[in-house]
Symmetry: D2
Subunit: 283 residues, 4 copies
Amino acid sequence: MRTKSFRSVVKKYKAVFFDAFGVLKNHKGLIPGIENTFEYLEKKGIFYYILTNDSSRSPEELARWYQQRGLRHVTTDKILSSGMLTMEFFKTKLTNGNAVAYLGTVKSAHYIESVGLETIPVKDVDFNNLDKIHSFAFLDDEGFDWKKDINKTINLLRQKNMTVVVANTDINYPVSKNEISVAVGGLADMVEQIIGKNFIRFGKPDAQMFLLAYERVLQDIKVNRNEILMVGDTLYTDIIGGNKFGLDTALVLSGNTLPDMAKIRIGSSGIIPTYVCESAVIE
Amino acid sequence: MRTKSFRSVVKKYKAVFFDAFGVLKNHKGLIPGIENTFEYLEKKGIFYYILTNDSSRSPEELARWYQQRGLRHVTTDKILSSGMLTMEFFKTKLTNGNAVAYLGTVKSAHYIESVGLETIPVKDVDFNNLDKIHSFAFLDDEGFDWKKDINKTINLLRQKNMTVVVANTDINYPVSKNEISVAVGGLADMVEQIIGKNFIRFGKPDAQMFLLAYERVLQDIKVNRNEILMVGDTLYTDIIGGNKFGLDTALVLSGNTLPDMAKIRIGSSGIIPTYVCESAVIE
Amino acid sequence: MRTKSFRSVVKKYKAVFFDAFGVLKNHKGLIPGIENTFEYLEKKGIFYYILTNDSSRSPEELARWYQQRGLRHVTTDKILSSGMLTMEFFKTKLTNGNAVAYLGTVKSAHYIESVGLETIPVKDVDFNNLDKIHSFAFLDDEGFDWKKDINKTINLLRQKNMTVVVANTDINYPVSKNEISVAVGGLADMVEQIIGKNFIRFGKPDAQMFLLAYERVLQDIKVNRNEILMVGDTLYTDIIGGNKFGLDTALVLSGNTLPDMAKIRIGSSGIIPTYVCESAVIE
Amino acid sequence: MRTKSFRSVVKKYKAVFFDAFGVLKNHKGLIPGIENTFEYLEKKGIFYYILTNDSSRSPEELARWYQQRGLRHVTTDKILSSGMLTMEFFKTKLTNGNAVAYLGTVKSAHYIESVGLETIPVKDVDFNNLDKIHSFAFLDDEGFDWKKDINKTINLLRQKNMTVVVANTDINYPVSKNEISVAVGGLADMVEQIIGKNFIRFGKPDAQMFLLAYERVLQDIKVNRNEILMVGDTLYTDIIGGNKFGLDTALVLSGNTLPDMAKIRIGSSGIIPTYVCESAVIE
């Protein structure tokens, strides 16, 4: 598959949206040389944001990870996550005295609590006292007993009809070079299938994620959608989502689309990036 | 199911988004009395828009239908359709000399041509000359020979990898009190299944439709999402889409959610409108 | 919904197949009076078998449950389970020195071991020594750590391509009057979705389950398929499976199809039983 | 991918089941040399049957096609089709004066009429006189006006609840080297999705197709399932179906699994044939 240099591609745009895993970082840490890319963007005055389907941590925590590895350009305000969409969602639904039950870590709940609502981990839900629980959130695959708490979630959602939000559309995520883990989106799919109800999902490839980033960049500059480049390693989230929102897209081969499979995957999926680049690194 | 009067609901909002079929009109024509609703909205200074998954006609044509039936408030600028999103999409992808092949009526193609691109009905596609065809659009279920042209579409999309857009997410639409017809979204689902590729779809419940309307209303007034009411007769498009976008929602029982089934449907779907009203008519 | 007495229905048949849960038993134990039904069948010389999607226990154990509650007619040879199909499957694939990895209890594995193959619980699988593992079985939702072992299963099936069998098609099962639990079929669906491979499933409504029972009854008597009645409480497994195999079917309202919903469910599903009866009890 | 000679494989079995298209024939006619295979089977006394998801023609017509091309061994009694299962199904449901409405050619209907039931093409169904129509059959993608008659079918099935049978599980079929066509199974999937009901499907990979063939071969010889070889070109129908039924399986690369993709397809699908052969031809 013929690829283009990332420099020759990115220089044509006013702003660039990056996926995180497989583009800026991998299981070993930052992708070597990625700091040069940010230096280049700063020098050229190209705006940049990171769009991540990560609802387990706040933008502050996510930014800290980059900062600690020397990528000082990635600050909290550069990070847009599906967790933020979830928080925004609950903000509009906020009513005094109401609470959200959830599956996830206490930390993932703290983040959505920041708008002022009360959260209750599923394990603490009392079936004799469901009055104040008005919605449910799937936040993280960690922080609970899968067997006990997934079954309790199913029976809670059967007993009381409430709005259910899934804060991460991904069904799995990489944990090492060859290993993946079920993501909270995968657990939510199973529960939705079993109870036969319709959940609300936040995260790429859904337009609301791209809208959040677009609104943010409009605060900086006046820009049309086709003056923005979406950079990602996954056809089914980053590229199709960017294409649909009207952005140009660059598939990078540094993550889960491997160089020797890129052509076959593009051909069989029908998801066609504007460009294909080896990686987002600028030498 | 206890319902609220539409007047008592709508008066709390700065803007209202209406679904068309089952809310403002049905197979017989305008829903009787609906003109009072628009008089009321005008008097109170509440902004309103109509959001429709209709890609077969232009906003001008859609507005003319209301005008001819005496609903003078529904002007072209009040109508937002999935066809407009399709047109916007192609505008960003526009390249000199490229063409879009399509299934639909000539009229539905004229509308997307208005941005300046060339369109070719599937029946006129020459398999020996595919160079200039860079994408495909499902526009309407009318205007072609289903057997011949659907099979030709399948073989075209197998032979050349291109972006495919579906301009209407609905899989069927009502044609009379008891009859429905396969919509172009239903045909697209079948083709997508057979060729195993991923199409891009425009229309409710997808966020991009609500975003289009929200951007439009922001040109009129400063308004938060939860100061907007989405009114619809279908849980799976109008209500879940509005809920997810952060709007309040009113389910009306004048269309395909029948009064005696509303409670069961809400309970079994898990899609919970903010309000339920008999209809959108204000006496 | 007009129902028929079970006696008036069953007397027309030479053999009857019963689903277990919701027909013969529920969360409290045997359905009161069901012993009269078996007395009647014995007296009339009508053959009977129990078809269950239960892979967690052997027919011996399943029969013991009925015996202990006084239903002496339900002997081991009367019970046909999806676990038996799984065992049959592995018998045909048996090769010296090969092993099956599994998710489930040790007891569920003992049962499939009875044909002579070796089994290894997922938690004991060594990724550096996968040579002898030639297939994988989902046997039971109990007996393992869901988070750890489901993730390990996913990575095992990604690392080595092997045949995967799901010994129970059900995605959930009842645990008390108002509570359900994820069944091993539900977990298997999630894993299949995440790794994108195709599993082999055993259990109703699949024809192989009915075939097993039909072959068994042919050892007793010469009978055509339409001289056999399938009795069940679930449209989507018992009734559609029986219909398709050419059996007559009786839906009973003593399990998960509730009396006030039966008509709606039959109408909306298009799965039409030959008869509807209050229960399988003969007074 | 390392392949085995078909001769070395087939000689180990007492009986062999062949898929037709891509194994014995292709769009040009008989696969050259396939007659040698049948000579060999006859000489060795290996029993053979052809299993085809073809409901558009009777076994007589299907056999005639082979006979006319000089393959005299393929006689009517050697052919087992999904159309036969459909006919068997209706035979068990036969009631005086009842009729089956259908989509397909008149010829495809003649075949299922041979058990004595009345058939009515959808175009002749009178909505004011539905009393005698007790079921519906999808038989062939030819013989009707797709737009008019598919929409009429949808409204018929919404108006009257009846059992629906799909006589071919395939969603497409090859019509030339590079072209495919929507099969009646693809149309049925679309209709099922739109009306939300559950259809009964006959054909590979479903066990009932293999059962029909197994019952037939048992009339000839006493044979265990693992003494039978299923030969096919499609992983998702022939191979997974054969595997599940307990047969050994041989994937041939003369049809829609191309030699250079076989290894990738087997790896990504998890459907593992016992053998892979270039073709079913014996030199």
